[in-house]
């Protein structure tokens, strides 16, 4: 099933990239407060959305893996952790470029930036633990993912207490107030959601292939074919 789904999803998200890019230039209104830099928004914010969705998928599938011990969920947890780390890197890099354009500084220890960095470091930690912690790595990474996901609502509450970050929601004065801006942003979210699905499926496939190689090797060792 995933053999057919991956090309379809990839094509749809490719169309989405082009459409959002075109709408961003020609259709979305010019932002008077943040000017042309604001165009970074249309891809930056969807990536942030996907970061949170991927982290949540990773946390939930880790929890199910811990309870049920089926390898399928472990594959999904690993794949979504890696993809979440990728989206986190994307958010941090584009955010950093936007900060340079708008605030003339690459990085500032503003709360939301700090928390995104923290979340990203946790995700990188999961991927690293997965690779280097030896025999109990899968459980350990799963525990880290579950507790890391538990922390997200708390971190979110904490950050919202005082914040200078441009807001995608109601709080922002200049951003996303115009319906056309919102429309293009949600199109971007949809596009990158499809893209996220594509990447996770591809990664799950390769994790499954890795397991098959391992099993075949063991079989070969048992049969005495391999040394």
């Amino acid at each position: 099933m995933s053999n057919k789904a991956i090309p379809v999803l990839a094509t749809l998200s490719a169309i989405g990239f082009v459409v959002t890019l075109w709408l961003m230039y020609s259709f979305a209104p010019f932002d008077r407060a943040l000017l042309f830099n604001q165009k970074i928004f249309y891809w930056h914010v969807p990536h942030a959305f996907m970061l949170f969705i991927a982290t949540a998928v990773c946390g939930v599938s880790s929890l199910i893996f811990l309870k049920k011990r089926t390898a399928k969920w472990d594959d999904l947890a690993l794949a979504s952790a890696e993809v979440a780390a990728l989206f986190g890197a994307a958010v941090l890099i584009t955010g950093s470029i936007w900060a340079k354009a708008a605030w003339d500084i690459w990085w500032t220890w503003e709360k939301r930036l700090t928390m995104s960095l923290l979340l990203w470091l946790t995700l990188v930690g999961i991927v690293l633990v997965r690779r280097f912690a030896g025999a109990s790595a899968d459980r350990l990474a799963a525990g880290l993912a579950v507790f890391g996901t538990l922390g997200i609502p708390f971190i979110y509450t904490m950050v919202n207490a005082s914040d200078h970050h441009p807001q995608a929601g109601a709080g922002g004065a200049a951003l996303a107030s115009h319906p056309d801006i919102k429309l293009v942003m949600w199109l971007g979210v949809l596009t990158f959601f499809l893209w996220f699905l594509t990447l996770v499926m591809m990664r799950v496939q390769s994790v499954a292939a890795e397991r098959e190689v391992r099993e075949l090797r063991e079989k070969g060792l048992d049969a005495g074919v391999l040394s």
Partner: protein, 116 residues
């Protein structure tokens, strides 16, 4: 034009000093009035100042505004970074999948020949 302004600026006080009795005895407001009168006496002088200031500030504001309003550099940079990240990850996945596929095929073949 600038040299003219400087020359006039130097000449006007010199003339004022030369014409008038000792300046220290006069109140400041009177001196200012004399100075202003002297400057206004030459219409091209004030005009040139206004022109210079206007052109300069206008040019500066326009370039700064244009730079921010048409700041495509950062947007293109950000989007390029995203493309690179995504392309890199997909390439990495694809190559890995290819090596895994060949490895699986190889292992299968070996196992089959061994079992025969």
């Amino acid at each position: 034009m600038r040299t003219w302004i400087i020359v006039v600026l130097c000449l006007v006080p010199a003339l004022a000093v030369a014409q008038a009795p000792p300046a220290a005895e006069r109140p400041a407001s009177e001196l200012r009035k004399i100075c202003a009168d002297a400057m206004n006496a030459d219409p091209s002088f004030s005009e040139s100042i206004i022109m210079t200031i206007n052109e300069e500030t206008f040019r500066q504001h326009k370039t700064a505004g244009d730079a921010i309003a048409k700041d495509q550099k950062h947007v293109i940079l950000a989007y390029a970074a995203l493309w690179l990240l995504a392309a890199g990850f997909v390439l990495f996945l694809w190559r890995r999948q290819q090596t895994l596929k060949t490895e699986i095929a190889q292992l299968r073949r070996d196992l089959e020949t061994a079992s025969k």
